[in-house]
Structures are given as C-alpha cells and as structure tokens.
Symmetry: C2
Subunit: 267 residues, 2 copies
C-alpha cells in the first residue's frame, strides 16, 4: 500500500479479452475521480494469441505452460511503465502457472508488484463477511482440479462446497467454455443457455448451504453483476482485484466499500 | 488495409478513461472470434493526468496543447509494439491538436498508422447512408468551435445543423462536462440530468430536420447505444473508429456491418 508516489497499474488481459476489459472498468469504478485527469495511470495488455488456455494446460491438453507468455507480457508492461500488476484470469493463479510466472519475473529482475487474485479475494471475504464459514466457488476445471480456491480458503479456516467432477464439468466449466454458448465465446450479450446454467449452478450451491459465493473465474464477472443473490453475498474476484490494484496504486483514491443489498438478484 | 501480417492495435485512451474503455469494448465486439486466442493483439494506454483537457486548450483556458502528451503516449504504445493507433477522443482530432500530434510523430520517425476518427466517421456515413444530406453532430465546445465535423462533412457535400453557441454550450457541452452530473464526472451509471439533456438535444435536432446524428464525442457513446432514434440513424464515432482499427489490423476478422433497426430507441 503506497501513498504519494506515482504508481502505474498494469492489467494483464487477453485471457480472455473481455475479462481484461471488465477488470479495467472495475478499476475506474472503484477510483475516486470527478475529472478525466484524476483517474489513475493504467496500461492494458491484451495479446491473447500468445497465451495458451490455462485450463487446457492444467488438464494436459497442451504441454505449453502459458506462464512464459504471461511473464513476457508482464515484463513488457513493466518496460512501458507499469509498477503494480494484476492478471485478469483466476486460473492463471494456479500454482503450476503462477509460481512459474513469479520465477521468471524473479530471474529477469522484475520490480513489478504482482498481486494474487485468489489471496486478495479470500482476504476480502474474511474481512468483510467474517460470519461466513461455507463457501461455493464458481471456477474453471483448471482452477477446480488444482484446488486453487480450496487451498487458500482452507488456510483461512473456511469450508468449501465440492460440487463433484460431473457437476463441475457439465455445469460450471461448460457455462464458461461451451463453444456454442459459453461466456468466452459469447459475452456480448451473454447467451440464455449460459444464463440457464448459471441459474442451475446458483440453485445448487444454495441447496448445499453456501453462505457466500465466489466468482472465481473472471468470465463470471461478465455474466453476474449482482452483489447478492437472495441473502447470499457474491464475492466477485474481478472487483476485488480491481480494488486491490487501486489500493496499491493510490489508497486515497479507493472508493469506500459498502456492501449494498440494493443490487440483489432474486432467483 | 493489411492482411496476413500481425498488426497490433494501440488505443490512446485516458481522455476520458471510460471512452478508451468503450473503444476497446467495441473493437472486441466488431472482431470475429470464438475463442480468446482469436482476438486481435491490443494495447490500451490510459494515462489521463498527463493529458490536459482538449476543449480547455481550444477555448484558451490553458496554453498547454495536449498534443505533446498524446504524441508521447502514442510513441510509448509504439515502443510496446502498437502498429495501428486510434485516439479515443474526438476533440483531440481538432487540427490545432491533431496536426501537432502528427508533426511530433513525424519528427520522431514514428511508423505508426494513426487513424482519424472524424474522417472515418464521415466516410462511414457516406458509404452506408448515401441518402443522408442533413446531419446533426453532438460534440464538445472545442470540436464545435474548431468546426471539426463541419469542415469534413462540408467537404463531403453534407449540410450540418448549427445549434448556435447558446444551445451548444448549455445543452450539448454541458451534458458532457457538467461537474455535478456530466458524463465525464458520472458515467457509471449516466445520471438522469445528463439523460434529460440528451433527450432535449435529440428532440432539437429532430425538429431541425436531421436525417442522421453523429455522436462526435466519445462520451456520448457511453450514454447512447441505440443504432437509431425513431427513424434517424445514429452514427457513433467510437464504433466507427473501432471498426476501422479492426479493418487495419486484420480485415478478415471485421464483423460485417448491417444497419439493424432492432436496436431503435423511441423518444
């Protein structure tokens, strides 16, 4: 957390492009500014062709770790002036990818402060909803298999609902990746089939007793913007990362967080 | 128009930040892609503190021409890999600013292809709506005073409705710049007072016999997303620039244009 120094926010987008855009939008929304010039300096890199699919790598469908491309693009952002960077993709934070990114940055003597979307999201949940004990996480197959959220949530003493492999693959993952209607293929607007899957996913987690839901894939932030569904708070990892980037760049400009039940979606 | 070569789109945002974001969003929407990796490489620079207000300079409220900062940021985008660049601000295309930008780029031996939002928008109008003869332009005070659209439209044999200084200042310009409710200060969501002004502006141009309306300030693209109002087509300069950038980067990926009356706003 810095103050009085000019930090430049770097957003590593492109995985997917729309998710990078949503992160930038959230950064602007969480910045106190009444004129153009009061907004924070920001650079967005969206070079998707270089970044192999994170889940495809984790599932062994490709041997090419996207870490190398992501680290290269972070170094480019640093050359262009970025000092504090966020990656707009949860699955890229799976240890098998993220640890390799930080290793490359270390080798290349990068001075960039790279935030961790999962650590930030779980800390945010703990700080703002201390009563929550049981959590449902909406994430990709790659994040699920590598227990990305599960590990961090357990470290904080929280219980995670395990939807099982079948449900995870055919509902949660499919909602993002279906080639016909998944959010990655069709995000503007999100297709009714994806919305229907999302409805089923939420009903499932509610029935399983979830006290909070984490949107643990940046694509879900596009499809679900409510702050709560019925009385269950929705923790959007993209919003949390946006707030963390503003905090690191200039804490005085961070818009106060207030959980508002105005934006509640009733199923 | 290039094909088969990797071009990198550079977006000069930050003036204002939200307008830069809307341009990037439109680039993604006008790109044929069914997976992350199929999207075009893109870099966004949003460093607003460096860029003095364009209209303030044109009106003589500051002697600092924003051209120097804009050109410097375009050169940074070029260093980072950008080959074709668009500026997400109409007023920055006023000759007193734009000519200075191109001069600096020439002196610095920049190879970047810099598109011109006004030239693109007027060409688009002529190509797609050849029957239109009388046009209303929604723009800033700076663009109005420098006859930014008027000159190019007249060059193409089109008539421009002149709203007069009073209406331009107290309705059109104010809708963008009012410190309490203008689109620059409050864009997420756009405030009812700004919407009310916008409603009045459109009614005025309709009464004056406009056959098309040009959204000639990127801020209006945030507030008005309809393709037509009643039977008057809305030509959104941000969408046109987005299409031009995709065309220059990879014409095969440009989504076909089809004027759709599905998205018509009835006043």
């Amino acid at each position: 957390m810095k103050s009085g120094k000019t930090e430049v926010i770097g957003v590593l987008g492109g995985c997917g492009p729309q998710a990078g855009l949503v992160l930038v939008d959230q950064i602007f929304r969480h910045t106190k500014a009444s004129a153009d010039q009061e907004h924070l300096p920001l650079l967005l890199s969206s070079i998707p062709a270089q970044i192999t699919d994170r889940t495809a790598f984790i599932l062994g469908k490709t041997t090419q770790n996207p870490a190398k491309a992501i680290a290269g693009l972070i170094l480019q952002l640093e050359s262009a002036g970025a000092t504090v960077v966020g990656i707009a993709c949860n699955t890229a934070h799976s240890p098998v990818i993220f640890d390799s990114i930080t290793e490359i940055l270390l080798t290349r003597k990068s001075k960039v402060k790279l935030l961790h979307i999962v650590e930030e999201t779980v800390s945010f949940l703990r700080d703002n909803f201390p009563q929550v004990k049981k959590v449902g996480v909406l994430c990709t197959e790659g994040a699920y298999k590598t227990k990305l959220y599960e590990t961090v949530l357990k470290d904080h003493g929280l219980n995670v609902i395990n939807p099982g492999e079948h449900f995870q693959r055919n509902y949660v993952h499919r909602c993002i990746y279906d080639p016909e209607f998944g959010i990655k293929a069709c995000s503007a607007p999100v297709r009714p089939e994806a919305k229907e899957l999302l409805h089923n996913i939420i009903s499932y987690y509610k029935a399983e007793g979830a006290e909070a839901l984490i949107l643990g894939c940046t694509e879900f932030s596009i499809a679900l913007t409510a702050e709560a569904i019925d009385d269950i708070p929705i923790i959007d990892s993209t919003k949390v990362l946006a707030r963390a980037l503003v905090r690191e760049a200039c804490v005085e400009k961070l818009v106060d967080y207030k959980f508002s039940t105005d934006n509640v979606h009733v199923q």
